[in-house]
């Protein structure tokens, strides 16, 4: 790389000049960051930290003294988050319910207050999972009915749990592998492999091409003959629009890191005056025993 730069520099005969462009105070001011993904029927746990201006080099601090409140659909305070440690806050007063709207406000000394709202979609009432094993490839058809009355967003994950005998230690260890692939063109997350399939640990997609229909989502993963007593936990979540946009853009952002040829990615945020995400989802899970 040094030699390439040397040749270019010599070839042009010029010394390029550099100077600092100062950032104004507005651009430097830190803001509150919320990492707040929550699920219906599960304790709400969020993380609050600080952003820093782009020139900062160091650990990004957590906020441990925030005043974080949970609101209902009408903006009424229904609970106060309690700080557990390391910037994590837990809601003990309210368990999010399916099909509900929640809001959050966070205030901290020295910061502009932030707020956001999201919802927990209705759970899918029935999901059918068909499987077919061919050698070491396990194929799945996940069949579900989409609600025709609204735009729906989904997240699918397949968690493989298996025991593996480690001949070196003599132990049989429980492993977890979340990696699977699909050739569904509707997926907006994941990495493309050499076969043109999309692979990853969660598949995000919307009902734009199958609204109101009974849809069959195909995917597959790898099961080695050495993997014993294998179980597959398939989770199909209905996710909020905020959750969907955030995770799709974040996945794209992560994929493009270190690629100088990639277009910049704007990671979605629904936090007003801040950054991060406050997004809800509801899940349907099924565990399959793989013979």
């Amino acid at each position: 790389m040094r030699n390439y730069i040397l040749v270019i520099g010599i070839a042009f005969f010029f010394n390029s000049c550099e100077k600092e462009i100062p950032l104004d105070d507005q651009e430097k001011a830190p803001r509150i960051v919320i990492n707040g993904i929550f699920s219906a029927n599960d304790t709400m746990r969020i993380h609050i930290s600080e952003s820093r201006n782009i020139l900062y080099e160091g650990e990004l601090p957590n906020i441990t003294n925030a005043d974080a409140k949970l609101l209902d659909a009408n903006g009424n305070v229904i609970g106060t988050f309690l700080h557990e440690g390391d910037g994590y806050y837990v809601m003990t007063e309210v368990i999010p319910q399916v099909g509900s709207v929640y809001g959050i406000t966070v205030a901290a000394t020295g910061f502009t207050s932030v707020s956001a709202s999201s919802y927990t979609p209705e759970v899918l009432s029935s999901v059918q999972i068909d499987t077919l094993r061919t050698g070491e490839t396990m194929k799945y058809e996940i069949i579900f009915q989409d609600d025709p009355n609204e735009i729906n967003y989904y997240s699918l994950s397949l968690k493989k749990l298996y025991y593996y005998y480690d001949s070196w230690t003599g132990d049989t260890v429980l492993y977890e592998d979340n990696y699977f692939c699909t050739n569904e063109v509707i997926v907006q997350s994941g990495y493309s492999d050499v076969n043109g399939d999309i692979c990853g640990m969660a598949m995000l997609f919307s009902d734009a091409t199958f609204n109101g229909q009974n849809y069959s989502f195909s995917c597959s993963n790898y099961i080695s003959v050495w993997e014993d007593t294998c179980r597959m936990v398939a989770t199909l979540s209905s996710v909020s629009e905020d959750y969907y946009k955030y995770n799709v853009t974040l996945a794209k952002y992560e994929q493009t890191q270190g690629d100088p040829f990639a277009q910049p990615v704007q990671v979605y945020s629904n936090i007003e005056n801040g950054f991060g995400i406050f997004g809800g989802y509801s899940s349907f899970s099924d565990t399959l025993i793989i013979p």
Binding site: C17, K19, I21, R52, Q263, V265
Partner: protein
Amino acid sequence: MKPTNLFLSLLFILASQIIFSQTKFTISGYLKDSETGEVLIGGKVYVPVLKVGAVANTYGFYSLTLPAGTHEVIYTFVGREPIKMSIILDADLSLNVDLKPSGMLDEIVITGEVSQQESTEISTIDLQMEKVKSLPVLLGEIDILKTAQLLPGISSGSEGSSGIYVRGGGPDQNLILLDGVPIYNANHLFGFFSVFNADAINSVKIVKGGFPAEYGGRISSVIDISMKEGDMKEFHGEGSVGIISSKFMFNGPIKKDKTSFMISARRTYIDLLAKPFIALANSKNPDDNVSGGYFFYDINGKVNHIINSKNRIYFSAYLGDDKFYVKNKYTYDDAGIAKIEESTGGLSWGNKIMALRWNHQVGPKLFMNTTLNYSDYIFKTGFGLEGYEKGKQSTPFESYSFEYLSGITDWGGNMHFTYFAGPKHKIDFGIGETYHTFKPGVNQLKTDFGGTVTDTVYGGKRTYAHEFYGFIQDDFKLNRRIMANLGVHFSNFIVREKYYYALQPRAAFNFMLDEKSSVKVSYSRTAQFLHLLTNTTIGLPTDLWVPATDTIPPQIGNQFAIGYTRELNKGYRIGSEVYYKTMNNLIEYKEGASFFDTSKDWEQLVEVGRGFSYGMEVLFEKRTGKTTGWIGYTLSWTMRQFDNLNQGKIFPYRYDSRHDISFVLTHKFNDHIDVGVVWVYATGNAVTLALQQYNALSQDGFYSTTVEHIDERNNYRMPSYHRLDIGVNLHKEKKWGQATWSFGVYNAYNRKNPFYLEFGYLKNSDIKVLKQISLFPIIPSVNYSFKF
């Protein structure tokens, strides 16, 4: 005399008067330079008493129909002595007129050009090559596109670039024609210079709006460049030797007054100049040997043959290439075995065009041009790595090579007719067809690691398309004060069994307020069946020309413009225009899309959206006397909107520049010395910068990603750009011709203008800052040119 005879005589006289007064005849012919025989494109023929005139077309042909009788006719062209002649018109007359060069524009010429106010041309500039050659420029390299950037409504985009952004349009939206053939990449040296050798150019016409119906295929501008044809009478040559390039042009008769030729060539020698420095660097590190360089060349050629008074043929060709290469050979010891690792890398791009044209004068009022053309643009980049034992290069133990190729090839033809119905009425019509072959982004990857070989081709398949069009336009005078140009351009595009068509009405009206001022109004609808995919993250010529397809629709433009111009005393002119322009079906790369993404076709990597721009342009010129020049000012807004970019919100185009000012002045002290001064100012470009960072946690909380947050696309304004250039030309007459020494200073007050911004560290500092990288400091130049 008997009463009957008297009556019959009177009747005869009356009848002959009536017949004679209604009889019209046509003067037609070619306007040429008396010394070189070069046609004078845009030369004017004017009859002051009747206040009618005509303009010579691209081939120097004019036609003017007048009532029978005696007329005083003035022939004029900028920089030539006008000719007034008295013509007795009692039959159609073929009259070729040769105009002599003059040292300076004077009032007589301006009088002859009063008819400019009568033209329906709006948003149109005719660049004078004498002006282009007299202005101070970067490294002494005269460049017509850089001169065009000094005019209102036309900006360069970035430092040193010869890219053209016209009224908020993109660089792909300019129809750049060289002798009627489109050029796809008009840049040398990564955009620092254009491919046009000014010595080979006769005329340049730039249309920013109010497009006549004869033009189609692009939605923002037309840059119509005509090459010189060659001196029909004597051999002449011109050349220059500069800091980084030299050029030479030679032209003359093959057969006097019948056939002429022109050939010009230019090459840089940056690679040769860099060799000693590279050798010096290598001498300090014998195990690590680097070689490399950069060069560009271009060659223009033309042959012009007059078959007879009604037929001429021309053959013109252009060939040009840019090549950047680097090679590194590293020798190392691996467990006592000497091994070599050789890496290579390079970029090259180039255009080839050819045109064969036939002019035929069907009659005194009907002129026809038929053109067959070929255009080929190709861009290649690649890198390779090979490892082998010393002395065993033929059997490497590892090799890896990657090549990326893109391009576009056109075969086409057209027929264009001009019917000079009368002095107030000219009709143009024609048809054309182009067969496009698009090669958008083909990747080839070859690897050989220990005998395991792969050879894979990825990426865009060739796409073939037919583009054909027809047009008709009528340029006419409604009355003494109102002129109009109404037309329609109808184009069709067939690609992959998908058929697109676009009916594009064009209208321009000129309301003459008085002899010296006019108001012009225009509307144009334009269609473009090609897109240029531009990668904004890297400054390399990696742009891809791609067609409209069944999934990506063609671009559509609509532009309204209103302008006012006034001729003032002593050669001054002031003009102002306001415009509003919409652009639909623009494409941009999707967020996260990578230029080298081999797993998807380009269509899967883009979003479709729209743009709009509006603004006001003012041009105040002094066009005569020893001191000439202009002040141009543009106030403009240019925005884009894509549903899936920037969260659907409107954002400024990267090259949205609120204020743009140019000041151009040339002063001729005498025939030996002239000076030029250029000062430009532009509001900084809009770039995308992340200004905040935060941690995004995974759902299970086990890992986090530090996100550099981008609030809005193109959210940050670079500092403004301004620069002063000064040049002086010293001419000396020699026995064999003329020699000129040109001395110039680019960026005379050494302004550190922004080239790009990045986050990093200044020298000798460990504090991270936002850095502005500047490219060109104060740069003196010296250039020796000659003419014989």
